[in-house]
């Protein structure tokens, strides 16, 4: 079939999606500028770009969540107006948002049928959904307990629910916004298998990611966005990660961590028999032992939910535990949940896993956030008052040193992109010049330019002779930054390896709870 589009070109295949001159501004920010893009049916089309480049905005427009200021949308060749998500759903579009749109205290089934119930009564809808859910689960290996509450599910499972939601609505076009940001490698691989299946069935997939490896591995075509514009759309086979990175950031990016040999010194952090029982009585840490020396990075690998978060919370001083923890040979209090201040006084800094829930106060300005947790430090306060002028100046300096954009300390944290939010936290914690730095998921959802920068900062700290405890679900990241790697499974440390003597495969087995060899 041949169709005559507006530009008069002839195509043998109708694009599944065609966006023409889409523009969208939020106040002064031009999030999308005259964007035109075509996505062929039965392909996986990747979109990459820096934080804040406008990827999510563009997808939200396609899904009817935002309204474009101007531009047209063609679905399967016919112009379609998408004023709201209802229209998008009827046009066969499904979207998995970067921040999931799930009702936390609803069951999986309830989330799935929300908006597509058949009839006014719930029972028949639920029964029907339960049946098709079993089928879908079988077909695509998307197993989730239909009666589990969302809040009890891991993020990986929550994402499955989002995908199931789209499939249940019989979406032909599936948009995934940074789907792997929160997944373990195994989960990510499974996701890609599913995406391949879907593509093979003729569905069209739009995939946003910051991970070039994923782009290279599974997409057919890739579009690169920068500052609200599409700077290139190329077949994946004709490009390379380096080329894409350069297109994205506008400069050459070092994709490998440049690591000098470690010079480990004295034990800075010594943890013995650490146990945590949570509020509902479940044992989350079951007697964990490890230590971190000065001048080394100990990486903690593991599938999310195996006790890493609790470990960080105990060490950070806001989770009760039993056992002993010593910093510089000095035992510290772990029996109380309000020790954040004394931890910091003991030379411990902490970049938490969740920058928006823990690391930052989203409604505070960048300069106020720049001392968050340290507001009792000398120099930041004089007596009962805060030394606001000094804090502001210091924040301005940090912003420059860490290249945080926009370089305005009076902006609220909420108004920075994820990568820059992460840099604000990092600047605060690293610039304290800690004895030991705890870092949780330092590059989650952060673009490659920023990743490079963050990794360099962590290595610099190590090379200054500080101890670093790194927790990440990105095996890549753990492997490339750590000197030693401990793998956590079900509240225990399954084993410890030297980074130079192990590989993804061995770690993957440990993460799955399989003991391999000896230590």
């Amino acid at each position: 079939m041949t169709i005559n589009d507006k530009k008069g070109r002839h195509e043998t295949v109708v694009p599944a999606i065609e966006l023409v001159n889409i523009s969208k501004a939020f106040g002064a920010v031009q999030a999308n500028k005259d964007i035109s893009i075509r996505v062929m049916p039965g392909t996986i089309h990747g979109i990459i770009g820096e934080n804040g480049a406008g990827k999510s905005t563009l997808m939200s427009i396609l899904y009817g969540y935002y309204k474009a200021d101007k531009g047209e949308i063609f679905i399967k060749g016919s112009q379609t107006s998408i004023p709201d998500s209802q229209a998008a759903i009827s046009a066969g579009i499904g979207m998995v948002f970067q921040h999931f749109k799930l009702v936390q205290n609803f069951t999986v089934l309830e989330n799935i049928i929300l908006g597509v119930e058949d009839g006014a009564m719930l029972r028949p809808s639920l029964a029907k959904a339960r049946k098709s859910l079993t089928e879908l689960a079988k077909e695509y290996e998307l197993n989730v307990d239909p009666d589990a509450n969302i809040e009890d599910l891991s993020v990986g499972h929550q994402q499955r629910v989002e995908i199931l939601k789209a499939l249940y609505r019989q979406a032909n076009i599936l948009i995934l916004d940074e789907p792997t940001g929160v997944l373990t490698p195994a989960e990510a691989n499974q996701l890609f298998r599913i995406l391949h299946r879907l593509r093979d069935e003729g569905k069209t997939i739009l995939l946003i990611t910051h991970k070039l490896r994923e782009i290279m591995n599974i997409t057919e075509t890739v579009s690169v966005m920068r500052r609200g514009e599409i700077v290139a759309t190329v077949p994946t086979s004709q490009t390379s990660p380096e080329a894409l990175a350069e297109l994205m950031v506008g400069r050459k990016v070092l994709l490998r961590v440049d690591k000098k040999p470690a010079k480990p010194g004295a034990k800075i952090l010594d943890v013995k028999n650490l146990r945590v029982v949570d509020e509902v009585g479940i044992e989350r840490l079951k007697g964990v032992d490890f230590h971190v020396r000065s001048g080394e990075v100990l990486g903690i690998a593991g599938v999310a939910g195996n006790g890493q978060s609790e470990l960080l919370a105990v060490l950070g001083g806001y989770q009760k535990a039993t056992g002993t923890v010593k910093i510089n040979e000095k035992p510290i209090e772990v029996g109380s949940a309000s020790q954040g201040q004394s931890r910091r006084a003991n030379g411990l800094s902490h970049v938490p896993e969740d920058r928006q829930q823990e690391g930052l106060i989203m409604e505070f300005t960048a300069w106020e956030n720049s001392v968050f947790g340290y507001h009792h430090d000398a120099g930041i306060q004089n007596g009962i008052f805060m030394n606001n002028a000094a804090i502001r100046n210091e924040a301005q300096a940090k912003i420059e040193r860490f290249d945080i954009r926009p370089p305005d300390p009076r902006l609220k944290a909420r108004n920075f992109s994820g990568g820059n939010q992460q840099k604000i936290v990092l600047a605060r914690e690293i610039e304290r010049d800690p004895e030991i730095l705890l870092v949780g998921q330092p590059t989650r959802g952060v673009d490659i330019g920023a990743i490079e920068f963050i990794h360099r900062q962590i290595m610099t700290l190590r090379d200054k002779g500080k101890a670093v405890l790194l927790v990440s679900v990105e095996l890549d990241e753990v492997l490339s930054l750590s000197d030693r790697i401990a793998v956590m499974f079900d509240g225990n440390i399954m084993g410890e390896r030297l980074a130079s003597e192990t590989d993804e495969k061995e770690l993957g087995l440990l993460m799955a709870g399989v003991k391999t060899g000896t230590n």
Binding site: A28, S338, G340, Q341, R343, R344, I361, I384, M386, N388
Partner: protein, 366 residues
């Protein structure tokens, strides 16, 4: 959407909102067969046209500043303190006990002592709901509502059975000794050559209210404690991460909030009535909620909203005195003011925003 210029946001929007409230109020006045122009004149002249009017306006405003600040401070920690009324009542008890049972040599020392006593009593009444919330998770909205009732019962008991002079019909304490009588604005301004009306209840407490507003401003935006309070209010999980103790912050915040509410009674009990009467706060604790919300929990906003409410109170009293307008009308006018300036402000802001954007665009085009 363009961000609206600050002056329009802070000045223009509230003014237009007020105007809308006034127009609807005028319609109500017409509906009950009275002349709205006359009414407005009466209100403005009665409340602002003389030092006499100002005296009353400021007197009421003083009450609202205290309770408004009390609610605001708690709001910054995301605690909704509905208990200002009860805290003010108990604060009054503190004033009465201090004023009656301690022989003060001079009003200034008495003021200091009674203020402390009021604040301590009010704070204590805020302490219990705070500790219950922090330790037991009892919702502070319920407990403070309950504590209002309990305070009323306690005060009723004390005034009728304990502190009432035997022969008095009035459930109130004896009058405070003259040494505790506070200078009125008349006394304070006379040395400056201003002849402020002698007969109004406005007194030195008004200045204390201003100091309290400055104190709250410093506390919230300049101190470490304020920083912790705001952090805790904005994000409990982040505060936990930062090592801010939730129990401590909840309790301290409610102590300050209750203390401020309690200090309101300096104005009514020591400044005006010069004895403790039943129901002394007269609902100012609840007006404080409206004032804090309208003032966006900022001390300056609270002061301005309090002045507005003081104006409505005093202007309303004049209306009730000189026109056949029932006092309930004033309550309706207050409702309209709260509605338009507080809840419907976006109704005004959005069109103004659009208008300004158009003006700006056409300006840019030239």
């Amino acid at each position: 959407m363009q961000k609206i210029p600050q002056w329009a946001d802070v000045v223009l929007v509230p003014l237009i909102s007020l105007l809308l409230a006034a127009i609807i109020s005028a319609l109500v006045i017409i509906a009950i067969g009275q002349d709205p122009i006359e009414a407005v004149k009466l209100m403005v002249i009665g409340a602002l046209g003389s030092t006499y009017g100002w005296g009353y306006t400021l007197y009421y405003a003083t009450n609202f500043i205290f309770t408004g600040l009390a609610v605001s401070v708690a709001f910054h920690a995301k605690l909704f303190n509905i208990g200002g009324e009860g805290q003010a009542m108990i604060g009054g008890l503190g004033v009465a006990i201090a004023a009656l049972y301690i022989p003060w040599p001079h009003w200034s020392i008495a003021l200091l002592g009674c203020t402390c006593s009021a604040a301590i009593f009010g704070a204590l009444w805020g302490y219990l709901p705070a500790i219950l919330q922090a330790k037991r998770g009892s919702h502070i909205v319920i407990t403070t509502i309950m504590f209002n009732f309990i305070a009323a019962g306690l005060l009723n008991y004390v005034l009728v059975n304990v502190m009432r002079p035997p022969a008095s019909m009035d459930p109130a304490t004896a009058s405070f000794p003259p040494a505790t009588h506070l200078p009125t604005l008349h006394d304070l301004l006379m040395p400056l050559g201003i002849n402020f009306s002698r007969t109004t209840p406005a007194n030195i407490t008004f200045l204390i209210a201003f100091l309290a507003a400055v104190f709250v401003w410093l506390l919230i935006w300049k101190t470490r404690l304020g920083y912790s309070i705001r952090s805790f209010g904005q994000s409990g999980s982040a505060a936990k991460y930062a090592g801010i103790n939730p129990v401590k912050i909840t309790v301290i915040t409610m102590l300050i909030s209750g203390g401020l509410a309690g200090m309101m009674s300096i104005n009514t009990t020591m400044g005006e009535a010069e004895r403790l009467i039943l129901n002394a706060p007269e609902g100012a604790g609840f007006i404080g909620i409206a004032v804090a919300l309208m003032g966006r929990s900022h001390p300056l906003g609270v002061v301005l909203a309090s002045l507005l409410f003081g104006f409505l109170y005093q202007g309303g009293a004049e209306l009730a005195m000189w026109m056949a307008i029932p006092r309930e009308l004033i309550v309706v006018i207050q409702a309209l003011v709260i509605l338009f300036t507080g809840a419907l402000d976006n109704m005004v802001r959005l069109p103004i925003n659009a208008l300004l954007t158009i003006i700006q665009k056409s300006g840019d085009a030239k």
